[in-house]
C-alpha cells in the first residue's frame, strides 16, 4: 500500500523536479543530449539570462499579484454578502435569489456571447479588469458559503446583537465575519489559486504586453523567447546578451519561476484547503 501510494505521490511531483533539473542544465548539454535527469554540465545561465531580461517578467509578476490580490478581496466580499443574505430567514426573497445564482450552474450563455458582452458591452478588451471581473462570482461558492453561514452563524447571537441595537451591516462585519473565517478563508484560497493560475482570460482579452500575467507570459514564450527579447531590446541597448540565448533552459526556468511561489506555499495552506473542500460537499 505504501509503495503504491508513495510511488504515485512521487510521480505527481517528479515532472516538477525534472523541469528544475532542465532549467539548471547548460544549454550545450541540452542540445547535445536532450533533457537528461543528470545533465553533463550544470549551469545557472538560464536564470542569469532571465535576470537580464527581468523587466517583462517583473511586470508579469506585478500583473499577476495585482489581479490575484484585488480579485480575491473583491470576490470574497461579493460572494460573502450575497451568500449571507440568502442564508437568512428574515430575507423575504432569499429563495428567488438562491435560484438566480443556482441557475447559472445549470445553463450558461457560452463563450461567444460572453466574449461579446465583455468586449462590446463592457469595453474591457485590454483592461486589467478583464482579468479580474470574469472570475469574481462563482455560483458554486455562493452555495457553499450559504451552507456555511447557515451552520456556523446561530440566529440567537444575531438576535441578541439586534436587541443591543446593532445594524445589519455592523452585525455582518463584527459578528458574522469572525464566525465564518474558516469558510471565508477557503473561498479566498480557491480564488487565489484560480487568479494566480488564470491564463484563459488573458488569452481572450489581453494583447497589450504590459498587461500580460505570468501564466500568459509563459504561454507566449512557448515557441520562442522573442516576446521577452523584444521588450528587453527596448529597455536595454545591450545587444550582446541577446546573442546567445539559452532557449530551452530559459523556458524551463520561467516555468520554475512561475510555479515556485505556489509550490512552496501550498503545503502550508493545504490543511485549510482540504477542510474547505469538505464543507461544500455536505448538503444542507
Amino acid at each position: 500500500m505504501h509503495i503504491l501510494l508513495g510511488s504515485f505521490a512521487f510521480l505527481c511531483i517528479f515532472p516538477f523536479i525534472y523541469v528544475i533539473i532542465i532549467s539548471l542544465s547548460s544549454e550545450q548539454s541540452l542540445s547535445l543530449q536532450g533533457y537528461r535527469l543528470i545533465p553533463e554540465e550544470w549551469s545557472l545561465e538560464a536564470y542569469k539570462y532571465l535576470w537580464q531580461v527581468r523587466s517583462q517578467i517583473f511586470r508579469a509578476y506585478g500583473v499577476t499579484l495585482f489581479v490575484t490580490i484585488v480579485g480575491t478581496i473583491l470576490s470574497v466580499s461579493v460572494i460573502a454578502l450575497y451568500a449571507y443574505a440568502i442564508s437568512r430567514k428574515q430575507f423575504l426573497y432569499r429563495k428567488q435569489f438562491t435560484f438566480i445564482a443556482f441557475f447559472t450552474m445549470l445553463f450558461s450563455g457560452g463563450m461567444v456571447p460572453f466574449y461579446i458582452v465583455m468586449t462590446q458591452f463592457l469595453g474591457l478588451k485590454n483592461s486589467i479588469w478583464a482579468l479580474i471581473l470574469p472570475m469574481t462570482v462563482n455560483a458554486f461558492y455562493i452555495i457553499i458559503m450559504r451552507t456555511f453561514f447557515q451552520r456556523s452563524v446561530p440566529e440567537a447571537i444575531l438576535e441578541s446583537a439586534r436587541i443591543d441595537g446593532a445594524g445589519e451591516f455592523r452585525i455582518f462585519l463584527r459578528i458574522v465575519i469572525p464566525l465564518a473565517i474558516p469558510g471565508i478563508a477557503t473561498i479566498a484560497l480557491f480564488n487565489t489559486l484560480a487568479y494566480w493560475n488564470d491564463w484563459f482570460n488573458a488569452l481572450l482579452f489581453i494583447d497589450d504586453p504590459n498587461l500580460v500575467p505570468l501564466q500568459s507570459l509563459l504561454m507566449r514564450i512557448e515557441n520562442n523567447l522573442d516576446f521577452i527579447r523584444q521588450n528587453a531590446m527596448l529597455s536595454t541597448q545591450n545587444g550582446s546578451i541577446l546573442g546567445s540565448i539559452p532557449q530551452d533552459s530559459a523556458r524551463m526556468a520561467m516555468v520554475v519561476i512561475a510555479t515556485l511561489p505556489i509550490a512552496l506555499s501550498y503545503p502550508f495552506f493545504q490543511k485549510y484547503f482540504v477542510k474547505g473542500l469538505t464543507i461544500g460537499s455536505v448538503k444542507e
Binding site: M1, H2, L5, G6, F8, A9, C12, I13, P15, Y18, I22, L30, Q33, G34, Y35, V78, Y82, A85, Q90, Y93, F97, F102, T104, L106, F107, S108, G109, G110, M111, V112, P113, Y115, I116, V117, Q120, F121, L122, P134, V137, I142, F172, N197, W199, F200, Q215, S216, L218, E222, M252, V255, A258, T259, I262, A263, Y266, P267, V274, T278, S281, K283
Partner: protein, 312 residues
C-alpha cells in the same frame, strides 16, 4: 395598486438584504444572464455594428437554424461531440475509481505522517496551471530532447514525433487528466470515510469481517450518497470539457485535432481564428442546451431512485 404598494413595502423592509446581494446580483445579470440572451446570435447572421453590442445583435439578420444546419452538415459536429463525451465519460469513471481507491487506501494507512506526505504530493498537480503542465508534458514528449524519445533511443527504437501522432493522445490526455485530478478528487471522499463511525468497523471485525468485506460492506455504502452527488454534477458537465487540457497540453497542434478537438476548443477557434461568430455561438448553444437537459435528466432519475440524493 394595492399589490404594487405591498411589493414596495416588502422591498423597503428587505432593503438591507437587497443591498447586500446587489453587487453579486448585478454581476450575475451582466456576466451570466446577459450572455444567455446573447445566444440569439446563434439564429442570426452576426455583423458588428458601430453603435455597440445591442445594435450589433439588433441589426444582424435572422437566418433561422442555418448556423446549426451548417455546423451539423460538417464532420466537425460529430468529432467534437464524440471527443467531448467520450473523454468525459472516461474521466468520470476512471476518476471515480481512482479517487475512491486512493481515499480508501489513505484512510487505511496506519502511519498517519506518511499518509499526509503522500496526500501533499498527490495534491501538488492540482495547484499548477495547464500552461505549466503543458511544459511538463513537453519535457517528456519533445521530439528531439524529450525523455520518452531518449528512452526509446536507448533501446534502439526510432524516436516518435509525439505532437504529430494522434494515436497516442487519447491515452496521454486521460493519464494527464488523472495525474492532475486524482489527489484533489480523493479529498472529499477521504473526509467522508474518516467521518464514518468507527464502531461499525469494530462490530464488523468482531464478526470476523476481512478488510475487503469491511470496504465493500461498510465504506463504499457509507460514501455512496457522496459518490452519487458528485457523479451527477460530473454527468451534468459531460458536454463541457476542460479547455486547458485540450488546448494547452497538445500545444494547439493541428495534426492532433481529430482526437483533441472538443466543443470548447472548437468554439474558441471559431471565435478567435475563423471569426465565425454565428456558428461558434450555435455550437455553444448546442453545448449549453444538451448539458442542461442532461443535468435535469440525471437529477430526475436520481430523484426517482432515491429522493435524498437528488441535487434539487
Amino acid at each position: 395598486m394595492q399589490r404594487l404598494k405591498k411589493f414596495g413595502k416588502n422591498v423597503y423592509d428587505n432593503r438591507i438584504w437587497l443591498l447586500m446581494i446587489m453587487p453579486g446580483f448585478i454581476w450575475l445579470l451582466v456576466m451570466k444572464y446577459l450572455p444567455m440572451f446573447g445566444q440569439v446570435m446563434a439564429f442570426k447572421d452576426f455583423r458588428f455594428h458601430p453603435d455597440g453590442f445591442f445594435a450589433s445583435v439588433y441589426h444582424s439578420e435572422w437566418i433561422g437554424f442555418d448556423n446549426f444546419r451548417f455546423l451539423f452538415s460538417t464532420n466537425d459536429a460529430y468529432v467534437i461531440t464524440r471527443n467531448t463525451v467520450l473523454y468525459n465519460l472516461v474521466f468520470i469513471i476512471l476518476g471515480l475509481i481512482l479517487a475512491v481507491g486512493v481515499a480508501i487506501i489513505l484512510s487505511e494507512l496506519t502511519k498517519q505522517k506518511l499518509a499526509k506526505i503522500y496526500q501533499t504530493g498527490m495534491l501538488f498537480p492540482h495547484f499548477l496551471s495547464w500552461v505549466v503542465v503543458s511544459y511538463f508534458v513537453f519535457a517528456f514528449l519533445s521530439v528531439d530532447r524529450g525523455l520518452f524519445n531518449s528512452v526509446l533511443e536507448m533501446f534502439n527504437i526510432e524516436p516518435v514525433s509525439w505532437y504529430n501522432e494522434s494515436a497516442y493522445w487519447p491515452y496521454f490526455l486521460v493519464a494527464i487528466s488523472q495525474w492532475k485530478g486524482v489527489g484533489f478528487g480523493s479529498i472529499v471522499y477521504l473526509a467522508a470515510i474518516v467521518g464514518i463511525d468507527r464502531t461499525y468497523y469494530e462490530a464488523a471485525m468482531i464478526d470476523g469481517a476481512s478488510k475487503w468485506q469491511q470496504i465493500w460492506r461498510i465504506t463504499i455504502p457509507m460514501i455512496m450518497p457522496l459518490i452519487i452527488i458528485l457523479t451527477i454534477l460530473n454527468i451534468g458537465s459531460i458536454f463541457s470539457a476542460d479547455f486547458g487540457l485540450f488546448y494547452q497540453v497538445p500545444r494547439d497542434s493541428g495534426p492532433l485535432y481529430s482526437v483533441t478537438n472538443v466543443i470548447d476548443t472548437y468554439v474558441y477557434r471559431g471565435l478567435m481564428s475563423m471569426g465565425d461568430i454565428g456558428m461558434s455561438t450555435a455550437a455553444g448553444l448546442y453545448q449549453a442546451t444538451v448539458g442542461f437537459i442532461l443535468i435535469l435528466l440525471t437529477n430526475y432519475i436520481v430523484r426517482k431512485i432515491d429522493e435524498e440524493n437528488a441535487l434539487f
